[in-house]
């Protein structure tokens, strides 16, 4: 379970809060969709959830472990896919996954088995011995997904994970997300593609200008079943403009 309590974040000396007093509870066994327009604070929230950024105030706990007090322990149960596909370009795919395995304390046998399994699943086996610099956008994304899964984390935090993936891989990842959640784990998932969020997520939150504007199940948000999530999203995020 992820618990975000009164979390705020301001960058540098800016007067605007990137995230403003955010409170969220993401339960075990659910896929939680996180929506918002560009610059709404989605990535900042995710970076705080993964320990990349420290919040100015408030607390974040992952499976009961505080990210502020026990960052190392909390990070060890998180699998994170960033939105920018950045990895060490000078490393080979295998080397990067070995590095990630070592960092998360995965033993060599398990690591080899899991890498083989996921690489086959995402059709990246052939490319793994090559340098990451030679990978296409989608291949880098697949590598980041595999890297996030090899240590079998309880909590998945995925920032735009489907961007750049081919339809087959996107379908497999969505299946994996469902299976993971059904086993009682947590998937925190951010996307711009509202159709995907609509189909995959159990609950969604919409953030705008750093503030949480809606959080509920899709059915509760969409009281009128004929209205699409897209229309609701547009109406909520443009209110007051």
């Amino acid at each position: 379970m992820i618990s975000i309590n009164n979390v705020s974040k301001t960058y540098g000396k800016s007067f605007t809060k990137a995230v403003d007093n955010l409170c969220l509870q993401i339960n075990d066994g659910e896929i939680f969709g996180f929506l918002g327009p560009n610059g709404a604070g989605k990535s900042t929230t995710i970076k705080m959830l993964t320990g990349i950024l420290a919040p100015d105030c408030g607390t974040i706990t992952v499976d009961g472990i505080s990210l502020t007090d026990n960052p190392t322990q909390a990070k060890s149960i998180i699998g994170y896919v960033p939105d920018n596909h950045e990895a060490y370009d000078t490393l080979k795919g295998t080397e990067y996954l070995s590095f990630i395995g070592a960092m998360y304390g995965v033993n060599k046998t398990d690591l080899a088995e899991r890498v083989t399994k996921y690489a086959d699943m995402f059709e990246l086996t052939q490319a793994l011995p090559n340098y990451i610099s030679s990978y296409s956008h989608g291949m880098k994304q697949k590598l980041m997904v595999i890297a996030a899964l090899v240590h079998q984390p309880k909590v998945w935090i995925l920032d735009e994970p489907l961007t750049g993936l081919d339809p087959q891989s996107a379908f497999k990842l969505k299946q994996l997300m469902r299976e993971h959640a059904d086993k009682g784990n947590t998937v925190f998932f951010s996307s711009h593609v509202i159709d995907v969020v609509e189909k995959v997520c159990d609950r969604i939150a919409i953030i705008n200008k750093g503030k949480l504007v809606a959080v509920d199940t899709l059915d509760n948000i969409r009281q009128d079943q004929s209205v699409s999530l897209e229309s609701i999203f547009l109406s909520i995020t443009t209110q007051g403009e």
Binding site: Y11, G12, K13, K47, T50, G51, I52, L53, A54, P71, T72, Q73, A74, K75, S76, I78, Y80, P82, N84, E86, A87, Y88, D89, T90, L91, K92, T94, E95, L97, S98, F99, I100, G101, A102, M103, Y104, G105, K108, L111, A112, E113, V115, T116, A119, T125, Q126, L128, P129, N130, Y131, S133, S134
Partner: protein, 565 residues
């Protein structure tokens, strides 16, 4: 022309714009610059005085002035060659430029223009230190100083064009290597060593190696030097653009000034045209092939055995090493600066090893009993002084992570461990350079091997300590988000601070060593004093390393958390 100027402005901004640093105090940086300036002041003053003295001897002599211009150009070439390679030939932004509706010659001239502007800055420094004092000594008129302004723009032309030609075959070779980072790095290093060695040999050849006993008599220097300068000046007519510039600078009549100025501009323009004609077709090919080289497919097949690791600390170190040395730009910066130390020792040995009347200076020194104490102490202090500032690997441990820094923040490994891995990597790299230097010192300078062992122990501790300090400094103020590692280095102040750290470490280690050296001579070469000469600095550097390590880890989490990715 509009396109050319717009592109030039863009490239120039990219090259020189310093990224703003959020709310940081500049007092420390200014203090570091002042202290370093004071340290270098004696050297600069001695050069200025020598040039003034040379001016008083040579007088209004275009040949001698032409020689001094050549020396300035030599310095500009040394400092600017790698800018030419990285700016002109190593076109990192080809993908951003090739789709623009501009001709390749425009891109080439823009790149050349940026390299030229870099060289103008170096030229300005050499003019102030070399040409201005010469003019004062030679009592040249106001026209000389006024003419220095256009000279500032003309002098860098020749080194720029020579640099373009020298770097061309090398860049072609690098381009042929393609995406193989380590091979590129090694080639660059070989080129660097060959160039520096060739340059030193050329300078020795031009300067002459003849020695005359009459030099010892100061009163005779003027009489001996004057014909020598005259002889040298006569040779300079062969570097005609320079000779014409010198003629214009020394001109006392309008026709002489006008002829000199017109000819130097014309000849430089002609040379530029020839160089452009010669290099442009090759450049065009290289520009396009940089984009074709981005994918090097390994023929290896995936096997389960290839996915394995060797513990957290070792994996962190290995990943860091791979990340640096497979990136040719970073690899060259890190290795290139490390080989400066052994290279300088080799040049020192060659210079001191030249025989005069059958005896070399180094042999004369070795015959003295103090040599076994003084030479190793000198080596320790020299390596401590320049070792820190030349170790790019240790100066930018966090900055070099750039956009990948988020990985270090998201992995479940204590940051202290990540930093320890980084300090160990940079210390090991520095130790390798130290070992090569020590071996060269044993072989070429005749330093006893047992003192070399102590030298390495002292340097290992001193290096570790200094690397802890530089690492913490980078954690406190990293330069992330760069698109070109060289630009990142230009914007960062770490190397200046590192020079200061090296200086302080040298003083701390040097003071007791010099004292013990004197004591060793005073006690008639007492063995215990000699032992103390090595044990005392070993203890001091061990304490330094321990304290620096403690300081590095103090409040480190706070600074780590402050780094916003």
């Amino acid at each position: 022309m509009t396109k050319f100027l717009s592109l030039l402005k863009l490239q120039f901004t990219q090259q020189f714009r310093a990224l703003p640093v959020k709310g940081k105090k500049k007092g420390g940086v200014i203090a570091a610059f002042v202290v370093l300036g004071l340290c270098f002041l004696p050297i600069i003053v001695s050069i200025v005085a020598s040039m003034y003295f040379l001016g008083t001897i040579a007088g209004n002599n275009a040949g001698v002035l032409s020689f001094l211009i050549l020396i300035c150009q030599g310095l500009v070439l040394v400092f600017g060659l790698f800018t030419i390679i990285s700016q002109v030939y190593n076109c990192k932004d080809a993908d951003k430029l090739l789709y623009l509706p501009v001709k390749p010659i425009t891109i080439f001239l823009v790149k050349l223009g940026v390299a030229y502007l870099n060289e103008v800055l170096t030229t300005a420094a050499t003019i102030i230190v070399v040409l201005v004092p010469f003019g004062i000594g030679a009592q040249l008129g106001i026209t000389f100083y006024l003419m220095l302004i256009p000279a500032l723009l003309i002098i860098p032309m020749l080194p720029l064009l020579v640099g373009c030609i020298v770097a061309l075959p090398f860049s072609l070779l690098i381009n042929a290597v393609g995406n193989k980072g380590p091979a590129k790095t090694i080639l660059q290093l070989l080129f660097f060593v060959a160039f520096m060695f060739g340059y030193m040999m050329l300078m020795q050849g031009v300067g002459g190696t003849e020695s005359d006993d009459s030099f010892v008599d100061i009163e005779n220097i003027q009489q001996v030097l004057y014909p020598l300068l005259q002889q040298l000046g006569q040779k300079m007519v062969y570097v005609h653009p320079n000779f014409m510039l010198a003629t214009a600078l020394c001109a006392t009549t309008f026709p002489s000034w006008a002829t000199g100025t017109a000819l130097t501009i014309g000849e430089n323009a002609l040379l530029l045209g020839i160089v452009v004609l010669f290099t442009l077709p090759v450049y065009n090919k290289m520009l396009h092939s940089t984009l074709e080289n981005t994918s090097s497919k390994s023929k290896k097949l995936f096997s389960k055995d290839s996915v394995q690791h060797q513990g957290t600390l070792r994996t962190l170190m290995l990943t860091d090493i791979k990340n640096v040395f497979r990136n040719s730009q970073m690899g060259f910066q890190c290795l290139g600066t490390l080989i400066v130390m052994p290279l300088l020792v080799a040049i020192l040995a060659i210079t001191f090893g030249q025989e005069v009347d059958g005896v070399s200076l180094i042999d004369s020194l070795k015959a003295m009993p103090e040599y076994i104490a003084i030479a190793p102490v000198f080596l320790v202090l020299y390596l401590t002084l320049i070792g820190v500032s030349t170790n790019t690997l240790g100066l930018y441990p966090i900055s070099r992570e750039n956009n990948n820094f988020f990985i270090l923040k998201s992995i479940p490994v204590p940051f202290e461990k990540i930093l320890t891995a980084k300090v160990l990597v940079s210390t090991c790299a520095m130790l390798i350079a130290d070992v090569i230097t020590a071996v060269l010192a044993i072989v070429l300078l005749g330093i006893p091997w047992y003192s070399s062992v102590f030298i390495l122990i002292i340097l290992a501790f001193a290096g570790f300590g200094s690397m802890c300090i530089t690492t913490k400094l980078d954690v406190k103020q990293p330069k992330l988000g760069w698109s070109n590692f060289n630009q990142s280095l230009k914007n960062a102040k770490n190397s200046w601070i590192a020079m200061l750290i090296g200086l302080i470490a040298t003083i701390v280690i040097g003071a007791p060593m010099v004292f013990l050296c004197i004591a060793y001579t005073a006690t008639n070469y007492n063995l215990f004093v000699y032992l103390a000469l090595w044990i005392v600095p070993t203890i001091i550097t061990f304490l330094y390393a321990w304290l620096a390590y403690k300081w590095m880890n103090k409040d480190i989490k706070k600074y780590f958390d402050c780094i916003e990715v």
